[in-house]
Symmetry: C2
Subunit: 455 residues, 2 copies
């Protein structure tokens, strides 16, 4: 009888795992169960769907269930929630959310790709109508309908990526946005100078930002969120509230099944993405992973990582021994015309990890000074002042900052020193970069702070 693989979760990690496993071992009998009504959707595109740049939910969907079934030979079920895992019997209980019917499915191998769920801060009123999250397509559809019902004002609790991207999109839709960030600054993994720049950019576009101030209470009218009250007692009227206060791993099923959980409750896996049960793999936003530089466990849920881990888990389910080397946490976001990117360790993280970490920051135009249309790129490098090893990099500026941070992510991955970065042979043409690329300017500044010049 054919070996049975069940995959729980039909977005990035789950579908990558299922597809890879099928490619490597076509005789595998695979089924994918997805709780929501959509598979394979680009969750990172939801702010642009809400803002209207993307018209239909289906535009966010890369592969639908029909294609999975007919083209890839992988029956994939939406509105099917796995409600429990029985490791002894090697079965899962699956509930059809449309009919309420529950069935038991046997498995030989299991992949858990249940993702993450938005964190809900313990604020009175947080569970009211009119309080939104933005994680699933259904979340997006609900929020978009609200925005289109002539919403004039919005409060965003938390200044995460989704919150900032949505602040942009709502502002462009004519909604007046106020952000409350409990921490002293936005995107606190960034250098304080960069956090300030992000704040000023938002304010320049009319977004009101309160840092160091959470929301004490959400007040309702007819059961619907209508005001927020600050700890200082001020109240602010709003048409709706969006919560963007981070996510937590959706590891309830795994926990109930007795699998080992780690940081923030994320599922513990080895480098081959195998859980504490040898027949169960897990991947994506529900797992704990290894920081590439320090080797320490971290919880860094990212779409890029989810896809890679899914592919690795799928290959290993099919008999491979591929390993996930670790995560740098490379990210980028666009807020109006400002692009914000980072990779590796922040200064605080690097110091906490025991490095003699220091940082340096430069500002340099992204093209030759005489070529029109240039914009400043600001780059911050975090490095060890004893060895010169590059540990982290952050950048703010034009779209090209993304490529520059990718260069530095590559350098970090290879263990380069700032001296070696300073010698990189990078491309140059007046419309694209200055003759000394901002990366090289940053590295040459950093070299001066390295204690013992290696060269």
């Amino acid at each position: 009888m054919a070996e049975k693989l069940i995959v729980i979760g039909g977005t990035a990690a789950g579908l990558s795992a299922a597809s890879k496993a099928k490619r490597v071992k076509p005789e595998l009998e695979i089924q994918v169960f997805e709780k929501s009504g959509y598979i394979s959707y680009g969750a990172c595109g939801l702010p642009y769907f809400v803002g209207g740049m993307i018209a239909e939910p289906d535009d966010l969907v890369a592969v639908n269930a029909e294609t999975m079934r007919n083209k890839r030979g992988i029956p994939t079920w939406i509105h099917h929630e796995v409600t429990s895992i029985n490791r002894g019997e090697k079965t899962v209980a699956v509930k059809n959310l449309d009919t309420g019917e529950e069935r038991i499915h046997p498995y030989d191998k299991l992949v858990i790709a249940t993702g993450a769920v938005p964190a809900a801060p313990p604020i009175p009123g947080i569970h009211s109508e009119g309080v939104y999250y933005l994680r699933t397509v259904e979340d997006g559809i609900r929020l978009k309908a609200t925005v289109q019902r002539e919403a004039k004002s919005a409060v965003i609790i938390g200044g995460g990526f989704i919150g900032l991207e949505l602040a942009e999109e709502l502002t462009l839709s004519g909604v007046s946005v106020t952000i409350f960030e409990q921490l002293p600054r936005l995107l606190p993994f960034l250098d304080p100078v960069f956090s300030q720049s992000v704040l000023e950019n938002l304010e320049r576009h009319g977004v009101k930002v309160h840092t160091g101030t959470g929301v004490a209470e959400i007040l309702t009218q007819d059961g619907r969120a209508r005001w927020v009250r600050t700890p200082q007692g001020e109240t602010l009227e709003t048409d709706f509230v969006l919560v963007s206060a981070g996510v937590k791993p959706a590891s309830g099923l795994a926990g109930q099944a007795g699998l080992t959980l780690g940081l923030k409750g994320a599922i513990v896996v080895d480098d081959e993405m195998r859980t504490s049960d040898p027949d169960i793999w897990a991947c994506g936003d529900c797992v704990q992973m290894k920081q590439l530089i320090t080797g320490e466990p971290v919880y860094v849920p990212l779409g890029t990582t989810a896809n890679k881990q899914g592919r690795i888990a799928g290959g290993n389910v099919a008999g491979g021994h591929d390993t996930f080397k670790g995560v740098l946490g490379s990210t980028v976001t666009k807020v109006f015309e400002q692009y914000i990117a980072s990779t590796g360790l922040s200064l605080e993280q690097a110091q906490a990890a025991g490095y003699q970490a220091v940082s340096t920051m430069i500002t340099k135009m992204d093209r030759a000074s005489y070529y029109p249309g240039g914009r400043d790129n600001q780059i911050c490098l975090i490095f060890d002042r004893k060895t010169g090893r590059l540990l982290g990099a952050q950048g703010i500026g034009s779209e090209s900052i993304a490529g520059r941070i990718n260069v530095l992510a590559t350098a970090i991955t290879c263990g380069m020193t700032v001296e070696a970065v300073n010698e990189l042979d990078l491309v140059y043409a007046p419309p694209v970069a200055p003759v000394y690329d901002p990366i090289l300017i940053a590295a040459s500044q950093a070299v001066k702070k390295v204690e013992k010049q290696v060269k």
Copy 2:
């Protein structure tokens, strides 16, 4: 008595050397002699000056002679040509081109940064009036005056970077441009598919391109270029001719002084940029350098390299022992909306260097498919199919291709395999990149061609 340093040549390499030497050893008595009327100009900006995007020659100048003298303490003389080097006496003869006066200057140390001169193909009529090059600011001023005298048509001989950039600028100025490239395709270091794409892009914008066809003769009227004749006997009328057929090292002075010359007559230097005379260093477009991957001597004149080498030579003149590790030959150019970038070895170069080189090419959008405004990026990777080592990379597409090729240049510098590139943790957001960056798509294709999977 203070040690005397004379620097011959006042552009990228020469001024970098002089400035660095002065910073490290302020007591050095430095003089810079520059033959032309401009120092420190961005030669790569000349096409945009001719096209009118940059108004004044001085806009291309980063530092003028006055600043060099007064702020940096380095007397710098324009219109001063070094006519000979007497290594026995340790003097140079310098002619003031404004007065005709010639003087002998003693030196303790000498830096030769004489750059390169445009190659003039042996075509009858090539020395006529109305035949232009574009290397110096004076060249640019002359050419711009001609374009502005209501030129309607231009013939460009050679399809180098300057030729293509100028084809863009002239077309945008309303001049009808015809390019004759003797080689079978444009930019022959590129994959043939990319060369074809560059050609089609030019033609789409109305530039006429003849490949595999040189110009047999330039015909004149009243001593001025007026027609070109092809080997097939066709003649084409034109208002002027521009020659963009590469450059050759300006090593005449060095050769006459008996310094060792290498490839194409470029000055041979060691890793510390020292010539065969221990008191003479050379740097920039006049020297032979080392290919970073193969270690073999190459002649790859680039502004980025010239600046770096100048800084190294200057530091070493002042007592340092910094080394130039080698050149990858990373380049980028913009032709209308198309950006063309490359780094490392071409397939032919890699095979000639003894690698079991193969290549792979992919096309992938530069942002999430659902985010508006995305453009295709095409990436070609050249790698060793035995070891998987990345040897070269080329890309065509939107501006972001520059950053992607820089990532791959960094990977090549670190000796990464395509497997390792495939695991890179790169940034992702829908407006900036797809979840699998084109780099990763290219690497994952390449991995399939590697014979013995390392993992």
